[in-house]
């Protein structure tokens, strides 16, 4: 194990005196950050985005794709600036704690945990469905128990995360690259330079079946192309050079996703009618099957599987670190703030979410888990936009060292707030009950925090960044 205070390495495992401390391990570089961010998100190209087609047609889904791309570019820019200065395991939770205050931080921590856990659950559901579809396509007879593979996905990836961050995120980098390559190969295979030969956009694109309202409704699932890119910040305490690696990894990840999202839409909308595409579970895999090419079908099976595994892997990493950070600050029981002395991972937080994720995976429909994740993410982005405005006001440029400064402030924050508002309306149109239920949950949780939990927090220990007093204080 590694002793932080003395720099000595202890060879034998034994109970250590309280003067020595344990910590997460800084081993990651920009490629790992890219792998973490894109790895969490790329699954959104393999499943889920197409529900936007069901909401408003293929053109509406493309419009939502690009509007969501603007939203997430703002998120990536804002996130990169704030994270380059607040390099802590809780990511946006730690940022909100320093910039806004404890109640905002508590809520952001919950948003992060809910968003990533539900995304992990969605990935497990798709893995089960994918394996079932593949097995049936191969001609095997019998009923595959999807729940077994959902549980195995969650447990196996939690095990990897338990054992260490470097191997986990190196694996993520590799399988994410393979999944992205699969999208590129499929794009080339359908010969986009020869319209009508494989892709039938002229026959399949039907305009806007629900008019302009369909574009609004499609924004709900348009976020699924990119949701999770802000997860790169959760690894801040494990990155060798946060000020450089996090902005670089996050922004290059966003560029990768913009390309992948557009290619995905183009391929799928040229092969499947919107009525089918709007409810398919694995649209890219289905697109590969429609080409009639066995190797392509196998490649997209592997790509979809890798994308779901990479995403679930990253989500377990991020959700556990957010919960761990809240436990360390006593916003949640301090028991969750433990670090494994040998593996340097937040092991208790990782194990805690395994049964919760499995329960949701075996009992909740995919569109519901996606919506829960999107809603929690939206709430986090809203706080993020407000947070960067406060951040620039309290600590103007030049007052603290920033590894990255995002341009055109406050335009990205204003755009982000506007697009979040539009998406709230979109979610309300389709899942109004769920939206209201989640709001009620977070309000109740906030009341619990204010009235009960906050008295356990060590208020003097909240602020850990070496910043000067805020302007005006």
């Amino acid at each position: 194990m590694t002793d932080v205070t003395t720099g000595q390495i202890a060879g034998a495992e034994s109970a250590a005196p309280t003067s020595r401390r344990v910590a997460l391990k800084r081993v990651l570089g920009p490629a790992h950050v890219w792998g973490l961010g894109v790895g969490i998100v790329l699954v959104g190209e393999f499943m889920g985005w197409n529900f936007a087609v069901g909401k408003g047609g293929a053109i509406a889904a493309l419009t939502a794709c690009w509007l969501a791309g603007i939203l997430y570019t703002c998120v990536a820019m804002i996130d990169s600036e704030v994270t380059s200065t607040v390099a802590a395991a809780g990511g946006q939770y730690a940022q909100a704690k320093h910039i806004i205050g404890p109640l905002a931080a508590f809520n952001v921590g919950l948003y992060l945990v809910m968003a990533y856990t539900m995304l992990e659950v969605s990935n497990a559901i798709v893995t089960g469905d994918l394996i079932e579809a593949f097995v049936h396509n191969m001609g095997f007879v019998g009923d595959l128990d999807k729940r077994a593979f959902m549980a195995l996905t969650i447990v196996f990836l939690s095990f990897l995360n338990y054992r260490g961050v470097l191997a986990t995120l190196t694996l993520n980098y590799v399988i994410t690259a393979i999944a992205f390559a699969a999208i590129l190969v499929l794009f080339v295979a359908v010969k986009p330079w020869a319209p009508g030969e494989t892709l039938k956009h002229s026959d399949l694109l039907t305009g806007l079946p629900y008019g302009g309202l369909g574009i609004l409704a499609a924004m709900h699932f348009g976020l699924w192309y990119y949701l999770g890119i802000e997860g790169t910040t959760q690894a801040a305490e494990e990155v060798r050079s946060p000020a450089r690696s996090l902005p670089l990894g996050t922004m290059t990840g966003m560029m990768t996703l913009l390309i992948a999202a557009t290619l995905t839409w183009y391929v799928c909308s040229g092969l499947m009618p919107w009525e089918y595409l709007g409810q398919a579970v694995t649209p890219l895999y289905d697109a590969a099957r429609l080409t009639g090419s066995g190797p392509l079908e196998l490649l997209l099976f592997v790509g979809t599987l890798f994308a779901t595994l990479a995403s679930a892997n990253g989500c377990i990493n991020d959700a556990s670190r957010a919960w761990f950070a809240m436990g360390r600050d006593r916003y949640m029981p301090v028991w969750f703030g433990a670090v494994h002395p040998r593996y340097h991972t937040p092991y208790r937080s990782i194990v805690f979410f395994v049964p919760i994720a499995i329960l949701f995976a075996v009992s909740t429909p995919l569109d519901q888990t996606i919506t829960l994740s999107i809603l929690s993410g939206l709430l986090g982005y809203t706080i993020m936009a407000l947070g960067v405005i406060i951040f620039r006001r309290k600590w103007p440029l030049g007052s603290i060292s920033r590894g990255y400064v995002h341009p055109l402030h406050p335009l990205p924050a204003a755009l982000l707030l506007l697009l979040c508002s539009v998406t709230y309306l979109a979610v309300f149109l389709g899942y109004g009950t769920q939206l209201l239920a989640m709001m009620a949950f977070y309000i109740a949780a906030s009341a619990w925090f204010v009235l009960h939990r906050y008295k356990y927090c060590r208020r003097g220990d909240q602020f850990t960044m070496p910043w000067p007093r805020p302007k005006g204080y």
Partner: protein, 56 residues
């Protein structure tokens, strides 16, 4: 074949879950709670030190 796949998946999940549970309980008993929860936000372990420690 499908039955075997189902059983293998459940068995593998159970084994890994039980291993994590066992290791968690073992670690909880082997170290003091104060040490396990002693990490501080933003604290650094030099990467080379951390990698060397993992190999020993």
């Amino acid at each position: 074949m499908i039955l075997a796949m189902n059983l293998c998946a459940w068995a593998a999940a159970a084994v890994l879950a039980l291993w994590m549970l066992w290791d968690m309980l073992k670690t909880n008993r082997a170290y003091s709670e104060a040490y396990l929860t002693s990490s501080a936000e933003g604290e650094i372990i030099d990467a080379e030190v951390g990698e060397t420690a993992a190999r020993r």
